[in-house]
């Protein structure tokens, strides 16, 4: 690596060898095919997006956006009887975890067995969170396209929730899901009632995105399989949350919100609430249905319960207090600071500012140097892949590949080979820590 790249690195020149060919760049830490966010190429793209939006704002556009699409599916479902059979016939629903529980338990001959129990969606809502967890754990089988593509599943389980038979897939892989099914049955039995059918898909249509934010950063997101969140839209959400210091803290907020990249022609409705008394962690539940406040309010309670049970909020507090990675902990001599962006996930990691960038004026200056280097690399007339910038106060190595974009800051006297060796080391470190630094798996429903 050092040989090929160092020969091609020089101040403001094209690298002849595409760096993609070498081992390190192929590491491309933080790469993911299954990103939570849509991939954008650069900040420039995001600027472009904003300009585009402004133009669209002035043009009257009539198109069927994501919201009308969702609204359509909603109304279509609304007209359908709530019945397991119907739901499984609906091919639009097949992507969601639709299942029919056939209660074959002979001991269960209560009279109310045949009577329609309480609104089955009640039970479903209680279990949405459980199911989501199940999906995380059993991604392999439940997210398996072939398995999903089956129009009708039949599961048989024991009273204790042990899998006995599944029409598709191995029963062993469905242990947890069947456990949830049994929990649902038991839940309703507790109320001296029994489940006849559950419609999983319909309930879930309403929610499009569930987002948890802390310290202006995305903690996690669950999204509808079909829809991804564009970084521009996430920026809007982050700004909305971070720019209001008290208005979301008093209670639960219900507000329309336009995410222009998702659909510039309509509104989503956002349930916004803080999950902790200190107001560190904020959750947004976004739906297309303006009447779902109470559904989502209930949903929030359940999510909160789970997060509390597993002490997640404390973990988030600790992570915020630590405040990102420190270069001094990575143990690369000469490296003062870096910014690394994984392009496929549209996520970046930026080291904490440490000496000599301890006061605001100093890191603002460093940031402006980053801007200069970034601008030079992305000049449209002559874009660069690698730039070794030597300044009075620091030296910056900028490197752009198809997988990532990296800016690393060194002392002003560092030599090219030393800088390159350090960057190699840094990429290996990022690769090692990528699960911690990036959100690589996208949770969908």
């Amino acid at each position: 690596m050092a040989a090929s790249s160092s020969s091609s690195i020089s101040s403001c020149s094209h690298s002849k060898q595409p760096p993609e060919n070498d081992d390190i760049s192929r590491l491309a830490p933080g790469i993911s095919k299954d990103s939570v966010l849509l991939a954008t190429n650069s900040f420039a793209d995001i600027c472009e997006c904003f300009n585009e939006q402004c133009e669209q704002f002035h043009r009257v556009k009539h198109h069927s956006g994501s919201i009308s699409e969702l609204g359509h599916s909603l109304s279509r479902e609304g007209s359908q009887p709530i019945d397991g059979e119907e739901a499984t016939e609906d091919t639009d629903l097949e992507q969601d975890a639709c299942f029919v529980i056939e209660e074959n338990n002979t001991e269960n001959h209560d009279d109310d067995f045949q009577s329609a129990s309480e609104d089955p969606s009640d039970a479903m809502s209680r279990s949405i969170e459980k199911l989501r967890l199940v999906e995380e754990e059993q991604e392999d089988i439940i997210n398996n396209e072939e398995w999903q593509s089956k129009r009708k599943h039949v599961f048989i389980l024991s009273e204790a929730g042990k899998p006995i038979y599944s029409r598709y897939g191995s029963e062993d892989q469905l242990v947890t899901m069947m456990g949830v099914m049994q929990a649902l049955v038991a839940c309703v039995q507790d109320a001296r009632d029994s489940i006849r059918c559950i419609v999983a898909g319909a309930r879930r249509w309403d929610l499009v995105f569930a987002i948890i934010i802390a310290d202006k950063q995305l903690v996690t997101m669950v999204r509808m399989r079909k829809y991804s969140l564009h970084p521009v839209d996430l920026h809007l959400i982050l700004n909305l949350v971070s720019s209001s210091t008290t208005s979301f803290q008093t209670g639960e907020t219900w507000s329309p919100i336009c995410l222009p990249k998702f659909d510039s022609s309509g509104y989503l409705y956002a349930h916004i609430s803080y999950l902790d008394d200190k107001c560190n962690t904020c959750m947004l539940l976004l739906t297309v249905n303006r009447d779902e406040f109470f559904t989502l309010s209930e949903c929030k309670k359940k999510v909160l319960e789970r997060l509390q049970r597993y002490r997640c909020l404390e973990a988030i507090d600790v992570a915020i207090a630590e405040g990102g990675c420190r270069v001094s902990q990575i143990g690369i001599a000469d490296l003062r600071h870096f910014i690394y962006k994984s392009r496929s996930t549209s996520q970046f990691v930026c080291a904490k500012y440490e000496a000599p960038y301890t006061i605001d004026a100093q890191w603002e200056r460093l940031f402006s140097v980053y801007q200069r280097v970034h601008h030079r690399i992305h000049t449209t007339s002559r874009p660069l892949k690698i730039l070794f910038y030597v300044g009075v106060h620091e030296t910056i190595l900028g490197w752009v590949t198809s997988g990532f974009e990296l800016y690393a800051t060194f002392s002003p006297l560092v030599t090219k080979p030393v800088a390159i060796a350090a960057v190699e080391k840094l990429l290996r470190w990022i690769k090692r820590e990528e699960d911690r630094l990036f959100i690589l798996k996208s949770l969908t429903f």
């Binding site: 969606s121 009640d122 008290t246 008093t250 219900w254 009447d291 109470f294 209930e298």
Partner: protein, 213 residues
């Protein structure tokens, strides 16, 4: 800080008494003090600089009236004009409304009147409306006379009160007055507020339908 006046927290008494649940919405021009009134009532707090509300905030507060526990589900709406079209979503099915104006601004009083008209035209016909002239602590800057507010309220059968979220004057009273006026014998659910809830309130609705078990 917390001036809770006559609001009694239920503290277990709800088990023996009757529980009524009411949807209440706050409407009024931007910056008249809707959020401050709610915050004073619900949390006993007041902030000199209260941020603009985005969309609407949902809060609950429970008060005890003799042997009845009244639970208010409060929608504190954004006053900015751009949110106007959303208002029906929040007042639909509400059993009570507090229309707020700022006694130091005639414009906000006029806006309050148009909110009252809109409610009379479009809201639940039995809605209990209270007119609240807020910022009563700023009496030296008063632009709307007490009598004007009272006269308008009398004409339209509204509860009228001047309040100060800052000093807590009459804040709890306006909610308690509303609580007393709300019908306790009728079911509080079906008028719309609760009917829009589909799954969460299954149990509570049953408990509170007919209000008093």
């Amino acid at each position: 800080m917390a001036n809770r006046g006559q609001v009694q927290r239920p503290a277990g008494s709800s088990l023996q008494g009757k529980i009524c649940q009411f949807k209440l919405v706050l409407l009024g021009e931007s910056a008249v003090g809707k959020s401050s009134l709610v915050l004073r009532f619900v949390k006993g707090q007041f902030y000199e600089y209260q941020e603009s509300t985005i969309g609407a905030a949902f809060l609950t507060q429970t008060v005890c009236l003799d042997d009845i526990t009244v639970k208010f589900e409060i929608w504190d709406t954004a006053g900015q004009e751009r949110y106007h079209s959303l208002a029906p979503m929040y007042y639909r099915g509400a059993q009570a409304a507090i229309v707020v104006y700022d006694i130091t601004s005639q414009d906000t009083f006029n806006r309050a009147k148009s909110w009252v008209k809109e409610l009379q035209r479009q809201a639940n016909p039995n809605i209990v409306i209270a007119l609240a002239g807020n910022k009563a602590d700023l009496a030296d800057k008063r632009m709307v006379e007490f009598e004007d507010g009272q006269a308008y309220a009398d004409e339209n059968s509204l509860v009228f009160v001047e309040t100060s979220a800052k000093t807590a004057m009459n804040v709890n009273d306006v909610f308690l007055t509303i609580a007393k006026k709300l019908p306790k014998s009728e079911p509080s659910g079906p008028s719309g507020g609760a009917s829009s809830r589909r799954l969460d309130e299954g149990a509570t609705d049953q408990a509170s339908t007919g209000c008093c078990k």
